[in-house]
Symmetry: none
Subunit: 239 residues, 2 copies
């Protein structure tokens, strides 16, 4: 499994070098070697690189300036949350089930698992890139876990299940997140052109559209069809 585990751990805006190092160590422990960082606090990333026992993961870690780029090649994007007060716009699954679904999906496509910053977690904008959200079953009185520990627990659940090995490879090819985002952007442009967007508060429209498109659960072929359809509509609107 080791070298081809297509699970990407994506840390969004991590601040603490100890946490980045701890996440990398857990990844190494569980044979999940692809770490991606979105806008890490620069000093933190530099310091983390010296973390013992995780240098291989950290050396190969890639930095991105937007979350969209960091998950572009993935067929499934899952965000983690400890749900505080925020109302969630996404389906929420407990880790026991979510881990199984991720393990199953990994048989056919790369999956991105997102962790927000230590202080604020994932923003609504971050979450709008996700197909669904996952929650570790901590107790209500103290739900928020340390970042490195949360990564370790999630990886354990994803790797643990002996059933995961038996999961059938799905024949369906998921649309890559990059294409899904292209569809979202093109639809948004069309809706601006056609005056639909102005009916709504502008800022939230993008997030709503992003979630709407993700709920379509597009396969790779349909994503291409939709891109063709939208391209044509856009061309017509502008002509």
């Amino acid at each position: 499994m080791e070298h081809k585990n297509p699970l990407r751990i994506v840390l969004v805006a991590p601040r603490n070098p100890l946490n980045i190092g701890a996440a990398a160590r857990a990844m190494s422990n569980f044979g999940c070697l692809e770490l991606r960082l979105v806008n890490p606090y620069e000093v933190a990333f530099r310091e983390a690189r010296s973390a013992v026992k995780a240098h291989k993961v950290l050396e190969k870690a890639k930095e991105y300036s937007t979350l969209g780029e960091a998950v572009a090649d993935c067929g499934l994007v899952v965000g983690t949350t400890s749900i505080g007060h925020r109302a969630l716009e996404h389906p929420l699954k407990r880790l026991e089930l979510g881990g199984k679904l991720i393990a199953r999906k990994l048989a056919s496509a790369p999956v991105a698992l997102l962790f927000g910053s230590e202080k604020f977690g994932l923003s609504n904008a971050d979450m709008s890139h996700c197909h669904w959200l996952m929650r570790i079953p901590t107790r209500e009185e103290h739900g928020s876990m340390n970042l490195g520990q949360a990564v370790a627990v999630c990886l354990y659940e994803i790797v643990r299940s002996p059933d995961a090995a038996k999961a059938l490879p799905e024949t369906r090819r998921e649309a890559r997140a990059g294409d899904v985002e292209r569809i979202t952007a093109m639809l948004e442009e069309i809706l601006e052109q056609s005056g639909y967007v102005h009916e709504r508060v502008e800022g939230s429209t993008e997030l709503k559209l992003r979630r709407l498109i993700r709920r379509m659960k597009l396969n790779a072929h349909d994503a291409e069809v939709w891109l063709g359809i939208l391209r044509q509509i856009r061309w017509k609107l502008l002509s």
Copy 2:
């Protein structure tokens, strides 16, 4: 479960205050509140007491000078190990099974789960107090986990509910077929308007679109949103 979870986490000779704090935080997360320390490095324990978000567990933590005393009231004593080079004299179970056995035993008796020092793990003398040993399924090349992360992963496995992995009944309201068909028809009209349809053989387009829309598996609310979107685009194209 919370206040009577009779699982005791026993740290033997821990050295690093951050690790003690991290272990306590994971315990608090998973509702396991009884921490016991055997010969902690004194400074480490003092510093750990200030760890954020785990003070309740740390305040109540008890110190012992021998492991025997620390586990005296327990009906089952389990040691954790990443098995390095040492030959083990004890039965060794993977966490997936061991966690289940511990959860079962907790129904009738307190259980102690032991973690050794960061550097050396449990000694043979420590292990001699154990009924059996447990191993987290990390990969061979990098088996040894960070102490706080190991505690978190073990507690998750013990606390996790096997039932939670069964898919929840979804409360989602499916779009009615009539609305789905309306969406299909409206999209077809738009595609004729924009010249997309002529690229394809006319007759089959309708069927292709119908299948394409059905694969979206729309819920009732999203169907309305899509109807609004398409209505607006059509209006713009015709105007």
